[in-house]
């Protein structure tokens, strides 16, 4: 599994980028990041997963394929080329798995 370099945003076409969004950029989006990485490992899929806040979304998400978030942020995310996946239960890895598989499959 590849992890995003914290400083750079080097673009790599071969690696899918997934961005988890919350209000603070840690805590809830951190849980999404951790559980997404666990699910990807289980599915044998490779992606870079970044947790960030809404304010940094456009810097992080312009090269992202998938944005993971709560229903509250969908409107604020607005128009994007990424698939926006709304997660209901952040601790339900089977929900995450199903939604990620559908988006990446």
């Amino acid at each position: 599994m590849r992890f995003a370099a914290s400083s750079g945003r080097q673009h790599d076409d071969s690696i899918v980028k997934i961005v988890a969004i919350c209000g603070a950029g840690l805590g809830t989006s951190g849980i999404l990041k951790v559980n997404t990485e666990r699910v990807l490992l289980r599915l044998g899929l490779h992606a870079t997963v970044v947790a960030t806040d809404l304010a940094s979304l456009h810097a992080e998400a312009d090269d992202a394929q998938i944005i993971l978030t709560s229903p509250e942020f969908v409107e604020a995310i607005g128009t994007t080329f990424a698939d926006v996946i709304v997660v209901d239960n952040y601790f339900d890895t089977s929900e995450l798995s199903e939604k990620l598989e559908r988006a990446l499959g």
Partner: protein
């Protein structure tokens, strides 16, 4: 990285809260009582929801209240409040809330190892119900795998 210690002062069992602000106030007061934050952190956690909505209700019955690292955070802390009467936060999927966690992180740099531990606890789908039913601080710490 293990969870931060959860002393008795950080645990409030069987509380009542008139609304979501009061529910967050419970863990805010507990974080302050346990020495992890100043009073201001409670307001910061409430402001996150006022600004973005009740997105912190991340699983059925569970709210993970938190704000950003900053001057209000003195050291990492985790507080738990269980509510006798569940409280609606306005989340479309996961209302009403029975268990409120208050998380304070001193530095963004290590928060992922901390939330990773929280995920370890709550990826077990029984954890929320067991916390809601917990009768003692020791029982809460047992479920969380945290020390006093």
């Amino acid at each position: 990285m293990p969870l931060p210690p959860v002393p008795d002062t950080a645990i409030t069992l069987g509380a009542s809260a008139s609304d979501w602000r009061a529910a967050i106030g419970l863990v805010g007061a507990a974080l302050t009582a346990s020495g992890a934050t100043t009073d201001e952190y409670s307001h910061e956690m409430i402001r996150m929801i006022e600004e973005h909505g009740p997105y912190i209700v991340i699983a059925p019955g569970l709210a993970l209240a938190h704000a950003r690292p900053g001057p209000a955070v003195l050291h990492d802390g985790l507080a738990v409040a269980t509510l006798t009467t569940p409280v609606a936060f306005g989340n479309p999927y996961n209302d009403p809330v029975r268990v409120v966690l208050g998380l304070a992180v001193a530095s963004a740099a290590h928060h992922l190892s901390l939330v990773s531990e929280i995920a370890n606890v709550f990826n077990d789908s029984d954890a929320i119900a067991r916390l809601a039913a917990a009768a003692s601080a020791d029982e809460v710490r047992g479920i969380l795998g945290a020390s006093a």
